[in-house]
């Protein structure tokens, strides 16, 4: 026989009547069978035993009257004179009284035991429920997603309709339903109650001392300082309070409230951290950019002030050279400005590129032409000192025939290649060749700028693409000009904006290759032109 102490509440309603009645019937059966063979006091023991057994099942209200009734029946049936309720004073009265008292004591004890067991069972269930919800919420990045779990738990608890209102962000100015998630059926009154409860952060309903006349509990999802939502629990017995049930429901709600508070705190922390990072990056970037600007500015100021102050003492050749320097350095500044602006544009969220079908030959052709013109202008500005290798011969392009059209922003790709070429020409020794290479690699197109310069130390291979890193800073050679900072960063940003990537690869016999791989898309069909 299963212990009646652990049984569920519902089946016992029937069993609580049938089983003890059966016990009593069999006890009286046994007594009538034993009547005559045992004396009265021993028969009474059977009755005490039956009473003790029956009290295991009797509902609380039936335990005491039933044992009193049994004592009366015993008196009627077995206590002489039989067939009457008359009791001989002395022995029998004491026996009956003792029996009744013992029955009541046993019944009372059993009842307390059973109440305790019932409480323990409920506590265990409550604890389990709290733990399950707590575990679900602890690992959740978005506790709102677990509002359904809380809803189910509360509904199970009160066995009645439940609705939840959970804030998604800050408390809105007005009762804006878009700022919240609502679970469960609510009418306008309940919704108003939920909002009121959320804003007040205090419970309402029977037993809460606030709006006791309501037929439902309104419980806030409390965080440490404010409520992050509210729940309405329609009670199965309207108007009746159950402090233990309410306390448990509030505990469940508070768990959600605390989880929501944790998320809010985490969000705030992340935002602060992001902002601090952004600030640091911006400062570093500004420092790097202003450093990059200062060099050409210093050169321009030097040349211009020399022209201005020493005018008649300068020879024509010197004057021409200074003017050439100003033109040259100004172009450098213009490039720097273009790169900085482009980087800022590409960094912005949702940047729109003007994509079109472009031919790699044309883009490379434009870069070659621009570079040659720049080199020619620089050679002219520097006067007679011709470099060992004619600048236009340093730069070569190798393009595979029948390259596919690229779906890209031509201006950006031109800027990228132009920067890479400029970079290579600047950092590699003057007599070494620089090559632009374009070829197809399966579903990608490779655009590479390769030089035979000093290369980049392994530790710097990824960092050269960061805005505020400059390889030249580590190189003591004063001839090495800084300024790759923004240039390479914008190149990578351009490659990425096109769904590609830009990498730096060391070459076999010295030098490095900047390799940009872009995805090939199938071009639109070529209709026969007219």
């Amino acid at each position: 026989m299963a212990s009646p102490l652990a049984t569920d509440t519902r089946p016992t309603t029937l069993r609580a009547i049938v089983v003890p009645v059966g016990v009593w019937l069999s006890a009286f059966g046994a007594m009538s069978a034993l009547d005559g063979r045992l004396d009265l006091s021993n028969l009474a023991m059977v009755l005490v035993l039956a009473s003790a057994l029956a009290s295991l099942w009797w509902p609380p209200w039936a335990s005491l009257p039933s044992s009193a009734l049994a004592v009366l029946a015993f008196n009627w049936l077995y206590v002489p004179p039989r067939g009457t309720l008359h009791v001989e004073l002395g022995q029998h009265a004491v026996l009956l009284a003792a029996m009744l008292l013992v029955n009541w004591i046993i019944g009372g004890l059993m009842l307390r035991l059973r109440t305790r067991a019932e409480q323990a069972r409920r506590h265990l269930h409550d604890a389990e429920q709290l733990q399950t919800l707590g575990e679900a919420l602890r690992d959740a990045t978005d506790p709102v997603a677990h509002a359904g779990t809380l809803h189910a738990a509360l509904a199970e608890l009160v066995e009645g309709p439940v609705a939840l209102l959970v804030l998604q962000q800050e408390v809105p100015e007005t009762n804006d339903p878009h700022a919240t998630v609502c679970i469960g059926e609510t009418d306008d009154d309940a919704m108003a109650g939920l909002w009121h409860c959320l804003r007040q952060g205090r419970a309402m309903g029977p037993g809460t001392t606030r709006h006791d006349e309501l037929d439902a509990w309104y419980l806030p999802l409390r965080g440490r300082k404010a409520a992050f939502g509210a729940a309405v629990l329609h009670l199965p017995h309207p108007g009746r309070d159950d402090p233990a049930l309410r306390a448990h429901a509030q505990a469940l709600c508070d768990q959600m409230g605390l989880a929501l508070q944790r998320r809010q705190a985490a969000d705030a922390e992340r935002q602060t951290r992001d902002q601090a990072h952004l600030h640091a990056v911006r400062n570093a970037m500004l420092a790097a950019i202003s450093h990059d600007y200062r060099t050409p500015l210093a050169t321009i100021l030097g040349a211009a002030s020399s022209l201005h102050d020493q005018d008649e003492r300068l020879s024509d050749a010197q004057r021409r050279k200074l003017a050439g320097t100003i033109v040259d350095e100004t172009r450098q500044l213009a490039r720097l400005t273009d790169n900085t602006l482009q980087l800022a544009r590409l960094d912005a969220p949702g940047v729109a590129l003007s994509m079109d079908w472009e031919s790699a030959e044309e883009i490379v052709g434009t870069v070659l032409r621009r570079t040659r013109r720049r080199l020619a202008a620089a050679a002219e500005a520097n006067g007679t000192a011709a470099p060992p290798l004619d600048p236009s011969h340093r730069l070569r392009a190798r393009l595979e025939p029948d390259l596919p059209l690229l779906h890209c922003d031509a201006l950006l790709l031109t800027q990228m290649l132009d920067n890479l070429v400029d970079n290579a020409l600047k950092y590699a020794p003057a007599e070494t060749p620089v090559e632009i290479l374009v070829r197809r690699e399966r579903d990608q197109v490779l655009l590479a700028v390769r030089d035979r310069g000093p290369g980049v130390p392994p530790a710097w291979r990824d960092r050269v693409f960061e805005v505020f890193q400059r390889g030249a800073e580590r190189q003591p050679d004063p001839q090495q000009r800084a300024g790759a900072g923004v240039g390479l960063a914008v190149c990578r940003a351009i490659a990425r904006a096109h769904g590609g990537e830009l990498r730096l690869r060391p070459r076999g016999h010295g030098g490095c290759a900047f390799e940009c791989r872009l995805p090939v898309e199938s071009p639109p069909p070529m209709e026969p032109p007219r």
């Binding site: 033109v327 100004t330 213009a334 003007s354 079109d356 079908w357 472009e358 031919s359 030959e361 044309e362 883009i363 490379v364 052709g365 434009t366 070659l368 032409r369 392009a397 393009l399 059209l405 922003d409 031509a410 201006l411 790709l413 031109t414 071009p523 639109p524 070529m526 209709e527 032109p529 007219r530």
Partner: protein, 242 residues
């Protein structure tokens, strides 16, 4: 008689510098610092007395877009309605889209600040020639180095030997020759060569420009005459007679 240029530019330093540079080249320069001033000058400026000159009071307008009292594009629209004046746009903030819009709206060319005086003078020469200031018949001949094009005779030759172009290639080249020295936008080329319904099909252009370069350039990968203006269009360099 010197050519008259109206320079609309709000930056005093740049206005002064450009004015001097242009005057050194022999142009007569009128300057305006705002949209209103520019419009007033166009409307009321008169040619020096004694000159028998019909038509607009200036020969060329150099127009900055970011003016204190409005966008230079307004002035461009007004100019285009009233006169066949060549207009050169100079601006610090030209996106591809804006360049194309300006060119399609009738600007002759554009220069993005900063630019050199040399570049400006070259663009001015081209713009002036195309507006017929030097009263030339409409272009039918084009010569640039080894390349010679005779539009009326449908003849193209390279280094003296005839070059065979397909009809589409010839139409494309002819369109560029007619605007030699100037940018022709993708849209304009597509509309004039393939028809107005094809203005979005830039990939046609890529293919035919590739073919043209293969036939007419020594090194098609590094064209010397059929130049690309990334994101905007193409430019055939000025002919040798220019």
């Amino acid at each position: 008689m010197s050519l008259r240029v109206l320079l609309v530019e709000d930056d005093r330093e740049l206005r002064g510098t450009l004015r001097e540079a242009l005057e050194v080249e022999g142009y007569e320069v009128l300057t305006a610092a705002s949209l209103c001033e520019g419009l007033a000058l166009i409307a009321h400026a008169t040619r020096p007395t004694g000159e028998a000159h019909e038509g607009p009071p200036v020969d060329l307008v150099i127009l900055d877009l970011g003016l204190p009292d409005g966008d230079g594009e307004t002035l461009l629209a007004t100019l285009r309605r009233r006169h066949a004046l060549p207009v050169l746009v100079i601006s610090a903030r030209l996106g591809d889209g804006q360049k194309i819009r300006l060119l399609d709206a009738g600007a002759d060319d554009y220069l993005v600040k900063p630019f050199s005086v040399g570049e400006l003078l070259a663009r001015m020469r081209v713009a002036l020639r195309h507006r017929g200031t030097r009263v030339t018949p409409s272009v039918t001949q084009y010569v640039s180095g080894p390349l010679a094009v005779d539009l009326s005779a449908h003849r193209v030759s390279l280094d003296g030997s005839a070059c065979h172009l397909t009809p589409t290639e010839f139409k494309l080249l002819a369109r560029l020759v007619r605007s030699a020295g100037q940018v022709v936008t993708h849209r304009q080329l597509l509309a004039d060569v393939w028809g107005p319904e094809c203005t979005e099909h830039t990939h046609y252009l890529r293919l035919y420009m590739g073919q043209l370069r293969a036939k007419l350039e020594r090194d098609p990968a590094e064209p010397q005459r059929l130049l690309t203006e990334p994101g905007v269009g193409y430019r055939l360099i000025e002919g040798d007679d220019g």
